[in-house]
Assembly symmetry: D2
Homo-oligomer: 311 residues x 4
Amino acid sequence: MHHDFKPSKYFTTIGSHEPVLRISSGDSVSTTTVDAAGCDATGEQITERGNPMTGPFYIEGADVGDTLKVDLTQLRPNRNQGYSGKMLAPNVVDPEYVPNLPWPKADEARWAQWQVDIAANTATLLETESLKGSLELTLEPMLGCFGVAPPRGQAISTATSAEHGGNMDYRGFKENITVYFPVFTEGALFHLGDGHALQGDGEMAGTGIEISMDVTFKVELIKGKEISWPRGENDDFIFTVGNARPLDQATQHATTEMLRWLINDFGFDPQTANILMGQAVRYELGNMFDPAYTFVCKMPKRVGSVKLVKD
Amino acid sequence: MHHDFKPSKYFTTIGSHEPVLRISSGDSVSTTTVDAAGCDATGEQITERGNPMTGPFYIEGADVGDTLKVDLTQLRPNRNQGYSGKMLAPNVVDPEYVPNLPWPKADEARWAQWQVDIAANTATLLETESLKGSLELTLEPMLGCFGVAPPRGQAISTATSAEHGGNMDYRGFKENITVYFPVFTEGALFHLGDGHALQGDGEMAGTGIEISMDVTFKVELIKGKEISWPRGENDDFIFTVGNARPLDQATQHATTEMLRWLINDFGFDPQTANILMGQAVRYELGNMFDPAYTFVCKMPKRVGSVKLVKD
Amino acid sequence: MHHDFKPSKYFTTIGSHEPVLRISSGDSVSTTTVDAAGCDATGEQITERGNPMTGPFYIEGADVGDTLKVDLTQLRPNRNQGYSGKMLAPNVVDPEYVPNLPWPKADEARWAQWQVDIAANTATLLETESLKGSLELTLEPMLGCFGVAPPRGQAISTATSAEHGGNMDYRGFKENITVYFPVFTEGALFHLGDGHALQGDGEMAGTGIEISMDVTFKVELIKGKEISWPRGENDDFIFTVGNARPLDQATQHATTEMLRWLINDFGFDPQTANILMGQAVRYELGNMFDPAYTFVCKMPKRVGSVKLVKD
Amino acid sequence: MHHDFKPSKYFTTIGSHEPVLRISSGDSVSTTTVDAAGCDATGEQITERGNPMTGPFYIEGADVGDTLKVDLTQLRPNRNQGYSGKMLAPNVVDPEYVPNLPWPKADEARWAQWQVDIAANTATLLETESLKGSLELTLEPMLGCFGVAPPRGQAISTATSAEHGGNMDYRGFKENITVYFPVFTEGALFHLGDGHALQGDGEMAGTGIEISMDVTFKVELIKGKEISWPRGENDDFIFTVGNARPLDQATQHATTEMLRWLINDFGFDPQTANILMGQAVRYELGNMFDPAYTFVCKMPKRVGSVKLVKD
């Protein structure tokens, strides 16, 4: 069953909030998300800033110990203007270099503005000194923050991320990706928001090109399947997501979850799983800006003679 | 001028050792490297294990404050057998998962053996339980450890890395890559070794497929050009390399060096360099096993309307 | 005004829960806390495990941007038995040493039991192999987890800590200490629990000697006084508390907050504050076990010719 | 046997340099150290800056796998003037606070000068704005950098530290302390220097009050005793020293070495050693400024019913 859902309220935590819609495994939903500053498709601010979430969506029958599969089937910026940070975050450069960053002057606009042309698939910076002309980049729309209600009745700020997902800001979360979340509470309670028209690895400027979006997603419930961290896949890769600080710990979470996946679901003996990952694993950086950083561990579905495809 | 150099001694530190050959800017050298365990093309151990280096090569005219450009023009495994670790390193999984790693039994061989077929471009694991048949991977030969003598008369173990290069274990250091090193001492004193037939990101098993190699490299001296960390480029990317623990600090070094490169060499004003990196930067993981980890910051040479090509 | 409060419900998050009592600035409260496992003075488990909190207490007139001063005037174990971890946490030893830790056998009790003698001020381990007799330690009762509701309507697990306080497990939080918390929400909403009869630095075993307690505290509201992290003082020291991972970041938070305190409240010019801290600062470790670690920056109130005492 | 040794050359790495004196187990040496900037008792710069070392001293009979015991029997500043940093290091404050540090102006002296009065046991800051009078602190002389030659023929900068000791900047390294170093090379090759008249925890300003010193030390060789990291003791504590970045890893090294010490040398079974450390361990911060940080794990020699004293 397909639902068209128009949000009327938003949350800046991911938690056990009153659901906005109850849906079933197999259903799809078309909805909208506001940008990180709470602005909608018209550019008007309609809710408090700070990654406001659309949702939560209650998935009938979901309970602790299940897995929620989410397909992002459509992810489209729905307006022609976005904004981004003008300065890399102080935590991603050498401490002694921090004063050399281009700190905005007191009277200067804090954000850079981009013209987004959805038909042409481009974002064009509206101002820049040294490029002597336009800085034009190709769109790669992605979802910065989404996930399910965390355990223990927690309500976790959408500024950060953990086992439940959240503000991961990973470029790989784009159209046609599949993501799996551990279910920590009855109904799973899926939230989504924080669309980016485009973003570099690490979200090093503290933002992508922040924009409101039209999103369609489909959910499927995998009963009795327990996972520890978000997982995902596309045609070419399976991947696991670790959210923590420092990066070292995020890497440990993602790597361990991949070992569990290969051993428990794909039937590798532990030693072969270790040997294979040692020579074939890939890593990608989600955000390195939020309180928790995001590191992604990827395994190619087809590598040499190995096929990571379940029957 | 081209030199054919056959090494007769090796070093397990990178330092101000007596040069084995003096060469000039513009010269190329064809030589060989032993594997990490000190074994040569015949498989015989001819020197102490621990990433023994071929070199150092003294570059005439090089001095503190210059940059040494090195082109890796040929990088070929020169025997048909390699070895790799059988277990991911304990530091890359969750601490509580460490006892679940496949620790080798007391009477078990510590290394996995691989059959390397250079003509077919494959490495085949000689033993494995669960793959029910061969695990065969495609070769991607790379150099794990190379660099120049560090400052202050230091002699730094080839187990680790720093501003001078060293044991970076980055998959991108393969044939046809160009690398730039800061020169810290008279003659630069270039060392190289630790070839891998193949390696996953992070060298998570503590090794690639370790193998001896035939290597050809070309040096060029850039007088009076000062850089802070290793840099490199290929047809598609420029990149900078940070070597430190934790990964957060390695990222800071690489990111800062990229900012300096864009601003000082490509003429970007600081704010535009920051905005551009924020939306277009990429990161890749060198090793996450050695005392210092390696993180690589990459910028595409052509991204949207921007071209990072010097005239 | 003094209140005697007998709790009837507990929370395992610190958040904007319904207050259990409304009190005024200047009031004191005597109450009880259950241990980390939810057991009360009789040893009976009366609520869910995981650092259940007594409270929250609503302080009349408190609002965002104020500071809440809390004096811990009495802190007394109220039963004669406590428990502790039997093994150091895997994250505080070298990764390769983790398998050598004394992992409990499948049929072994997970916790060590201690006889607590309040009159004699001792805790005696009820079992041990190698000490050939009793292991008896002196009590130093402390409060592991307390704080105010965090910002943005968050409800944060009592397993961790942040700007609002929480599970800091710092040995210095004992009788006669004064602690200051930033107020993030109307009424401040003070929670407390997780008493320890005794604890080593770092809570390296994942627990102190966990025990239920009788606690008396007094609150005072400092209107319009904004601080960023918990602060505290006793007769000899002022101190600031940073809660984050890794320890490096916890140290940055605590050190920065101490600089702000010296400069903004004690009237030091920045350079003198920096010079003085450089030669006189002390650090102590709260927990190094929870998701966020705790590091404490201390300045002696009297150091050489300097007196950090406000008139 | 006692030696009076007057140095005539200095090293800014710790390595397998030509020994300046050969001594025997049981011998003591009285010598001098220059300050971090290479200045001697007269204040004259006589060697290159950067923690120049007196030594190395060759201990007859020492070899790989032994332990070198060093008693610091006398540690006395030998001039009346010292200097310190004027600003906390950028890496020890929040990244976004870095521009607010009191960065010295272009025409400003980089170092604060202190008048050191050895008879009165005080250091007095020669300039300060806000203290309206003198800032006078009590001397606590200590040795910042000392250790033995590292393994593999390395020569490691005296800016940093590792298993061999080096630039640890721990306030506990003062008169009447005993330190144990693992021996990595024939003769052990003991180096020392970098005296501080006084220092805060963490050497957060990048320096203590840097000064030249008269030092007397005594060596004793413990044949066949293998340790992994520097250890030490005084009347009240035994302690172990971890040198690494980040602090988390330094803590892991020190904690693991303490477990080994308690289990292998004091005869505790592993579980009792873990339980005891959990409730009685203490930690102190050496430097948090150098490339490798230093964290110290301490156990009281007498804690409750336990005595850590070998017969």
